[in-house]
Each structure stands twice: as structure tokens, then as C-alpha cells.
Amino acid sequence: MHNEHSDSNFQSRIDKGEHIEARDYMPENYRKHLIRQMSQHAHSEVIGMQPEGNWITRAPSLRSKQILLAKIQDEGGHGLYLYSAAETLGISRQELIQSLHSGKAKYSNIFNYPALNWADIGAIGWLVDGAAIVNQVSLQRTSYGPYSRAMVRICKEESFHQRQGYEIMAKMMKGTKDQQAMAQDAMNRWWWPSLMMFGPHDTDSPRSSDAVKWRIKRETNDELRQKFIDKTIPQAELIGLKVPDDKIKLDEKTGHYKIGEINWEEFQRVVAGHGPCNKQRLDHHKLYFNQGAWVREAAEAYKQKHLKQEMQTI
């Protein structure tokens, strides 16, 4: 008979495709892996508000301003579900934010690149959210229940984001020469970093094997990346955007696109903290978090004061 609290029982539940819930037994490394991954995911949503927020006040129409505001709100909301889902693993929001500030917890590398022109808002929606969706669709079937349910909600909203991003790109490609140049410039800068979002090649990915065994991760980095490439290249061609890679070739036999070599040196450099915006993004988060300290303290003081008063009247 299996002990309910044994690793082998845990693994057999995973193998049967059962969800693991917050109160269920789980090996310590499974919990750690999830906290690392979910907090990275939550922080990515929150840090991702910065490059997009950079364009709200300059959005070129009232409609695009509203869409962008709504989209950024969605991202913040996703951060919130994910923080709450991570909290079910016994870690507090305060600890999660401390780990972000100390550099222990990461966020998606992609947000260490700058949003330089309006078409970047299109590219972020279409390419960055597009890449994120491929990953998140797969994560809807992840083994940890709270994470899986958060992903189901998030995926619904992300597919809307991707469409609005593509709409901006399509509109600009139909526009003036200046607009087309902006769109192509954004494509040139965001294409490769988007491909890097899936992480290193499977052969170089140290944590992949455990994550696959525990069914936290359902498909490998390279499988997911290929899905994104196959989906995105025809979309680019349809609106006349050139993918900045001379080696792209459709393999007729497999139906998959082959691409040139990803610059892993750049990837490693940005992960190590030397991307164009690593310092800026983290400094921004720390600055406003610290500036808000008096507000959080006041809210807490008010709550305690009134709790005490209520207790006294009882």
C-alpha cells in the first residue's frame, strides 16, 4: 500500500494526470520549483506593465489609449492571480517582492528591452504575448491545480491581447512610409528576444527534466518555440513585415520553419543583468514600492486601530 505522504504516491498521482492541490502532499523540490516558476511569471506580468505603460500617455488615438489601458490592467490582474496562486504554496506577497528586489527571483527577460516607438506596443502584443500564450496554453494542463486554473483565466485574455497587437502592426503596415518603417523597426528589435522567451535549447536546459517528470511543464522549450515560429512567420508575411533572419526556410516535409542560430550570448548577457533595461525596470519597481511604503503603513495602522475599537465594543 502507498503511503499518502510518499514521493512515489505523489508521482503516481501526477502520472495519472491528477491535479495537486495546496493542502496535498508534495515533495519539497516540487514546491520550490513551483514557487520559482510562478513568482517569475507573476513578476513578469507586473514588470511588463512598465514598457507598455511608457506609451499610454502618447497613444495616438483615444481608442488605442483605452485598449492599451485595459490591456495593462489585465496584465496587472494576471500578476495578482499569480501572486495569490503562489501564496497557496506558503510564501507571502511581501517575501515574493523582496526576492524580486534582491535579484533572487527573476522575471521574463523580454521586459529588459525598451519600447521605443508606438509599433513596439503592437510588437509586444503580437510577438511577446503571442509567445507567452504558446507557453501558457500548455500550462493550462500543468499539474498544480491553482496554477492551472490561473492559466485558464489568463489565456482567455491573452489571446485578445495578441489580436490587438497584430491589429496595430497591420494598421501601421497599411499606413504611411514612416509608419511602415516604425513597424519594421519594432519587428527587427523584438523578433529574436521573443524567440529567446522560450528559454535555452532542450539540450542546455538544466531544470527541464524534473519539471517534465512532475508535469509542471508539459512541452519542452524547443517544441513550444517551434509552435510559435510556425504560427508567426505566415502572420508577418501576410502584412508585409520582413522577419529579420536570412536563414528562414520552410521544410516541406515536416511543415516546420527552420530558422538561423539564436544569439545565446545575448540571452545569457541579459539574464545576467546586462540588458538595456534590467537596471531601469528593477529600480522603477523598487522606487515606487518604497515611495508607497507610507501608504501601506497608514492603511495597516487604520485597520489595526479600527479592529481594536470593534473588539472593545464587543
Partner: protein, 252 residues
Amino acid sequence: MTTKEATFTYTLRLGDDALILGHRLSELCSKAPFIEEDLALTNIALDMIGRAQAMLSHAAELEGKGKTADDLAYRRPEINYYNHLITEQPNGDFAHTIVRQLYLSAFEFLFYCELEKSKDETLAAIAKKASKEVQYHWQHAMDWTIRLGDGTGESKRRMQIALYELWMYTGELFEMDAVDETLIKAGIAVDLTSLKTQWLNLIKNTVTEATLLMPDDTYMQSGSRKGIHSEHLGHILSELQYLQRAYPDAIW
């Protein structure tokens, strides 16, 4: 001045209030003290930009020159913007943001309830939607005022400063000119004289509950209804209008 011309100006003023306050609140994205509050502030910003679009579309129709809401939002010179001075004031610290919301949303809460009765059907319809939204904005501002006023010594001090500093922009909310008078007679505009006492009561009650002090009456700033603004508006517009001005032939 025909009723139609007056309605155009009146609607434009309301649109500009929403547009400029929406702009200021948008600047706060990713800068709130915690994520829930970030969402609350951008949500109010979104309501404002939505209202600006509705008002400016209506204004463009009334003007009858074939313009769109975007033309009005993005292509006017500074002197032709009529938003209240308080809407363009910088966000400052969180206390200033909240006090600006307190003064304005109390006003809008009363104003839009009245505007629902307007004989201009479009204005009445926009007002109906706005008064639902503003109820939430008012609640949000009131909750924060009470919590921060009665929170810590520091939050009380900051709130008191913000209450004093923004007070001089509140007189303008109740100014009326020929546009208002023409439209009050036609049953289109709201008579602001009757709102002032109610507004003062709302503010006094909240400030008292927050254990704060009401500002003393002081010289009230004025000018926006004639297109005379503080220096802040020019900077807001250079950001807001940037793409439309730099690429005038582009469609976005």
C-alpha cells in the same frame, strides 16, 4: 450664441476635464503603492478616457465641421482646451492624487446625477453611464481619505498638506458663464449654484471623519474656461499630441 454653439462648448469642456484627468491618472500606471491600487487607478483613468471619447464625439457632431473625437482631443492648440485647472495639476504624492480625486469626484458625483436630466439626449445618456462610474470613484477617494487621514502621523500630515494645496483650484468648479446661462434656460446644463453647498457638505463630512481639518478659504485660481491654464497643460499636450503632430498624415 445659439443653443447648439453653447452645447458644443459645454460638451467640449466636459470632454476636456475627462481627457486631462484621464491623462494624469494614466501616468500612474505601475507606480501605485501596491498592485490592487494600480488597477484601481488605471481603471478610473480608463473610465475617464472613455467618457472623453463620448463627450468629444458628441462635441464634434455638434460642431458640424466633419471632425472626429480624435481631431478634437489631439489637434487643438492649448488655449482651446477648457479643462478645469485642478485636472491638470501633477499627481504629486499619493495624498495629492487622492485629494484631487476627492474634490473632483465629489463634484462629478453631484454633477452627473443632475446632468442625467439634461434635455440634450446624448449628454443625458453619457451622464447616466458616468454617474455610475463616478459613484465608485467617489467611494474610492473617500475610503482613502479616511484611511490616510486617520492612519499614521505621516499620512495625516501628507493629506493635510494636499487638502490645503489643492483647495485653491476648487472655486473654479462652480464658475458659470454665458454658455451655462444659455443652456440652463434651455434645460440642457446643470445649475452649479445649487451644487456648491452639497459639495461642501460631502467634503466637510469626509474630512471630519478622516480627523483632518478643512482648508481656510483662500484666493481661488481661475481661467480654464477661457483657455488660460497653468504651465502644466502645455507639457501634457506635448506628450498627448506627439504622434498626431509629428505624423499628421498617418491614420492610427
